[in-house]
């Protein structure tokens, strides 16, 4: 017992000593600090390092796992962040709740580089508060070893042959949105009959579903646990890189398009620095380096000719213009969200 105690005390002192060292070395008052709050792996770390060196600043990069988690932190105030990356519908919500600062466009001359499709997104029509950073479309990924006929429609997920091998995103809006689009409605409907009809349809595919998963959908497709499912285009590109048997298609009925943006939360302490960073990210050369590293779609038109052949040839990153035209953004549905949640819970009650 004595030895155990002294061991504990030893470990304690060691850790405290290390903490003390860690604390003292991280406080350098001279430098300006940029606090980023974003998705994990959403920047090339070398790009951040280059930015730190070029402007002699320090960048803190913290991560969240969902828009709603980020919203809760920002809503409570006192979060201390200067730059956040809300997704499309969340931008609209945050604007409504008055949680975003207007961007000073004079500080971001490079915003002209953004491709015209994303200069007027429906969630922030004049790019007053946000700029599109990465984007993609939720389509069907399938493993051609098991799925012999190339899927063309969402209806192919309902095919009995894939029973127990279908995977879907673990997200009520994405899944309900898919069922709505399949039945010819808007993915953000507030019409109760349309919802009820699509839900009845969705229930029929349930016995085929192996799992609902957002975080590990890539692993499940790569390891061939799942044969077919709803997957984001950027994820499909990553899956295809690891398992070339997995292909990706955007169904004929249309699909949901999404984007993660760059925005500044209300009351940010280093707004100018955040804008400087946004502008830096939109330098064509910087953005090439950044996007080739993170592997998602780049909205920067000036950078397209500079990208590698491989990146440009990838159809899951450079999506077809016609497919983009058919895709629909998710819009905040206000109070109807309760209905979506009720259906989602019912679907998962196993009855």
């Amino acid at each position: 017992m004595k030895r155990f105690k002294s061991m504990m005390i030893g470990a304690l002192t060691a850790v405290l000593a290390v903490t003390a060292v860690g604390c003292s070395s991280s406080s350098e008052p001279e430098q300006q600090v940029l606090n980023i709050y974003s998705w994990a792996d959403n920047f090339d770390l070398d790009v951040i390092k280059d930015f730190e060196q070029k402007y002699n600043v320090k960048v803190n990069y913290d991560v969240y796992g969902s828009n709603e988690e980020m919203l809760a932190k920002i809503q409570a105030g006192a979060s201390g962040y200067d730059l956040i990356q809300p997704s499309d519908y969340m931008v609209a919500t945050m604007i409504q709740l008055g949680l975003l600062e207007e961007l000073n466009k004079e500080n971001i001359p490079n915003m002209k580089n953004i491709v015209s499709t994303f200069k007027t997104p429906p969630f922030d029509k004049e790019n007053k508060y946000s700029l599109v950073y990465t984007w993609g479309i939720t389509g069907i990924a399938y493993n051609k070893k098991y799925v012999k006929e190339t899927p063309t429609s969402w209806n192919d997920l309902w095919n009995e042959a894939y029973k127990g091998r279908v995977i879907m995103l673990n997200d009520p809006r994405e899944v309900m949105g898919m069922a709505l689009i399949k039945n010819g409605f808007s993915n953000s409907t507030t019409n109760k009959d349309e919802l009820a009809k699509s839900f009845a349809d969705l229930k029929k595919v349930l016995p085929s579903v192996m799992a609902f998963d957002t975080d590990n959908i890539k692993q499940k497709m790569i390891a061939e646990e799942a044969w077919i499912g709803t997957v984001w285009s950027g994820d499909a590109a990553i899956i295809n890189g690891q398992n070339p048997d997995v292909e990706y298609v955007i169904p004929k009925e249309g699909a949901t398009i999404w984007a993660d943006t760059l925005a500044i939360p209300k009351g940010a302490k280093h707004k100018d620095l955040a804008e400087k960073f946004i502008n830096y990210l939109m330098e064509p050369e910087v953005s090439v380096k950044n996007y080739e590293s993170i592997g998602y779609s780049n909205p920067n038109e000036q950078a397209y000719p500079l990208h590698s052949e491989e990146y440009r040839a990838n159809k899951m990153i450079f999506l077809d213009k016609a497919d983009i035209a058919r895709a629909e953004w998710l819009v905040d549905v206000g109070d109807t969200l309760q209905e979506y949640d009720r259906y989602w819970t019912e679907m998962k009650s196993g009855r």
Partner: protein, 284 residues
């Protein structure tokens, strides 16, 4: 006989701490459960009972019931797995006891998600178990070991086992061995001695462990997601969804309050049952 005042005061710092950092937040939750959700998911300061009315939907009753079944099964399985282990540890030499305790705890210092993903690698259709069975020719098609209620239970027991082992070990460790020896001297079989002497004397540990496991499993939501494929929601998932997708904090608070009241009621009933059993034993 002696002045116990100063000893009684030892609770003051802890009570003060919990008063500020626990009771205060609790009151806020209770308050929030009577407020309204705004159109954009903000909390509107307007009194309503609607959140509690919504819980009457049989859908939520069903999920509460499912959750209870899973929690009870998890608790029973944890006792089956944990008691013999704790018993074995308490029988070892003192210093070996410390080492075994640490060995039992160390896996839980590794991040929960990382451990769960490791289980997925073991159990999935192309996973370790299926590959071994297939190469041995025992099965031809991979067994569906994941994404069902069995794998959820496995994940629950794996996650909560230390909550059972530690309290049982603590009470076994201080058990008075002489009573056991006396039972043997009186000719009791080992099984009878265990049932009538050891088990009653370690009851506190079993009760404490059961409550810790039960209460923790009732709010669990990551295990059903990762090991169960997120197909059948427990009440923890429903509550989680109110914050992370429906953005309905008041309804989430109301569900939490009901969950807490229900758990407290069950703990109370459990204590009663244990007491009644004790009285019966005393009478016999």
């Amino acid at each position: 006989m002696l002045n116990k005042k100063p000893v009684k005061l030892l609770a003051a710092p802890a009570l003060l701490w919990m008063g500020v950092l626990f009771v205060l937040p609790m009151l806020m939750i209770a308050l929030m459960s009577f407020l309204k959700r705004g159109t954009y998911g903000q909390v509107v300061y307007e009194f309503t009972l609607n959140n509690y009315v919504r819980i009457w939907d049989p859908l939520y009753g069903q999920i509460f019931a499912d959750t209870l079944v899973v929690a009870i099964l998890t608790t029973v399985l944890s006792i089956v797995c944990g008691y013999p282990l704790a018993y074995y540890i308490s029988r070892l030499e003192k210093s070996s006891q410390q080492i075994w305790l640490l060995l039992v705890m160390i896996p839980f210092w590794i991040n929960f998600l990382v451990r769960s993903y490791a289980w997925v690698i073991i159990l999935r259709s192309q996973g370790v178990v299926n590959t071994i069975l297939q190469s041995l020719g025992i099965i031809t098609e991979p067994l569906p070991l994941l994404y069902n209620s069995g794998s959820v239970l496995l994940g629950m027991v794996y996650t909560l086992l230390p909550f059972m082992v530690l309290p049982i070990y603590v009470s076994l460790e201080q058990m008075d061995r002489r009573k056991l020896e006396a039972a043997y001297d009186l000719g009791a079989t080992p099984w009878r001695a265990f049932w009538h002497v050891t088990l009653p004397m370690t009851k506190t540990g079993v009760v404490t462990g059961s409550i810790l496991v039960f209460v923790s499993s009732i709010g669990m939501f990551v295990v059903p997601d990762v090991m169960g494929g997120a197909k059948s929601a427990l009440i923890g998932n429903v509550i989680q969804n109110q914050f992370l997708s429906a953005r309905d904090w008041p309804f989430g608070s109301a569900l939490s309050i009901v969950l807490m009241l229900l758990s407290m009621l069950l703990i109370l009933l459990y204590f009663r049952a244990v007491k009644a059993g004790e009285a019966k034993e005393g009478a016999a």
